[in-house]
Symmetry: C2
Subunit: 247 residues, 2 copies
DNA sequence: GGGTGAGATAGTGTCGACACCGTTGCATTG
DNA sequence: CAATGCAACGGTGTCGACACTATCTCACCC
């Protein structure tokens, strides 16, 4: 999985194709990728003057790109204040995972109902490739394959509204998940989860599939929280980079 | 419920307070209210030149307001094409209600878990007022009270992510619901649903509350679909104003 | 007469400018 | 020395202008 692919995935998750000018898309992809990869850290200033200089454009397309990322929860904008990289609180993260868990359970149920055998075979192929990546410890490739897998599932289910919401929640968790997947052992747990989920789908057991994906989500959340905890203690007494009190 | 109140509700649903300049907020509220009230009909041209003339501003804040409404699904924008009032297909509507049903069930479960007795009393008062409005046949007031009731419930549950998604879905269904609630008998059915839901909450029966709200959502969807069908046949042979083939 | 294409029309995307406001650093005061 | 006020700086929101392009109109052709 190259940088090029990263941008292609982001282009789809942000629904940039045909919806925005290439210039805006380019900026949104660069900033979005930066946030997810951790190149831009939470709370960091994203003022439109600097960005417009970097891309050698005026501030108008920069503002538009930032507004796109704001709606996906990656950027925080308040009127007359400088935009910043979003810094979700622990509570925010829990809320997001709670909703995500619920919607993924719904997705699994629909997948069991609607996926054709051919589509399940395709998903099976994907998971097998992910198993390989996990065994090789190729975190980055695994990470994006995971994103692609869920994207493909939402496509198969064919509810664009659901897909859009799940994509948005996925983006919010992506910066966190990138951390959490690097935790020792997470990769193999994760791929186990995917295999069990797919098996339940093949057996057309909607209840089980929903329960499995919900469980996997809870485990992902736990891994994220542990990683945050660890980061916090490693960073000194400063507990967690938290939202400003001024809010 | 006056026009003033309508705009206040929209201001909250669109999260305009502190997030956008008053000028942008004003435009977004006017257009949003117009779409919901049916003053602007589905598919109608929303070019930024006309709007900027109407509000005596430049096109910049107009574009920003339209982007806000696009993310809420009220407006469709494609690059280099004129923005239009969204025209969801029947399938889109079904998809939206499907997701909404699921999330409202989640909301009901959380409400049972988390609402204090005082908060339930407050909700009870609201529903009683709605009963009165329904008996009086005051469709508009009932309509907005209904919106407020659900907004309050999401606040009580205290999951901002969930609230934001439900608000967005609510906006999408609002233009439809306005139609559907005018159908004879819908008002009293609707208020019955709300009363049963609240009773289940008071009895702390999460399963029942979830089932009730899901059922109510399905009934609301059915009413919308019947109304659309009726409009379509009344409008001649042209079946349903559908999305352009050009997409 | 219906389809085709060139020209006219009109709206979008982007730009640089400017007024206004949030922020920062410093001097002043208790 | 900490707190407060002020002034310079820097960024945001809005504007009008302009190039580019989707759309409309109408003459032209078969």
């Amino acid at each position: 999985m190259t940088d090029q692919d990263t941008h292609l995935v982001l282009e789809r998750l942000l629904r940039l194709r045909d919806r925005r000018e290439p210039l805006v898309a380019q900026i949104a992809e660069w900033v979005g990728a930066g946030i997810i990869e951790g190149r831009l850290e939470a709370g960091q200033d994203l003022n439109s003057v600097d960005l417009s200089r970097r891309f050698d454009t005026s501030r108008t397309p920069v503002r538009e790109a930032l507004m796109l990322l704001e709606q996906e929860g990656l950027v925080e904008m308040k009127a007359r204040r400088r935009p910043r990289v979003a810094a979700p609180s622990l509570q925010d993260i829990r809320d997001i995972y709670q909703v995500r868990k619920n919607l993924l359970a719904m997705l699994a149920g629909l997948l069991v109902e609607r996926a054709s055998d051919e589509e399940l075979t395709e998903l099976r192929t994907r998971v097998e490739r992910m198993r390989k990546l996990a065994d090789d410890g190729d975190v980055d490739s695994y990470f994006w394959s995971h994103v692609l897998l869920q994207e493909r599932m939402t496509e198969i289910v064919g509810n664009p509204t659901l897909k859009q919401i799940l994509d948005s929640l996925a983006l919010r968790t992506l910066m966190l998940r990138h951390l959490s997947l690097t935790r020792a052992g997470r990769l193999s747990y994760s791929v186990d989860d995917q295999e069990r989920l797919l098996q339940a789908c093949e057996e057309r057991d909607g209840e089980l599939a929903s329960a499995l994906i919900a469980g996997a989500t809870v485990r992902a959340q736990r891994a994220v929280e542990e990683q945050l905890e660890q980061d916090a203690t490693a960073r000194g007494r400063k507990p967690v980079r938290r939202r400003r009190a001024a809010d």
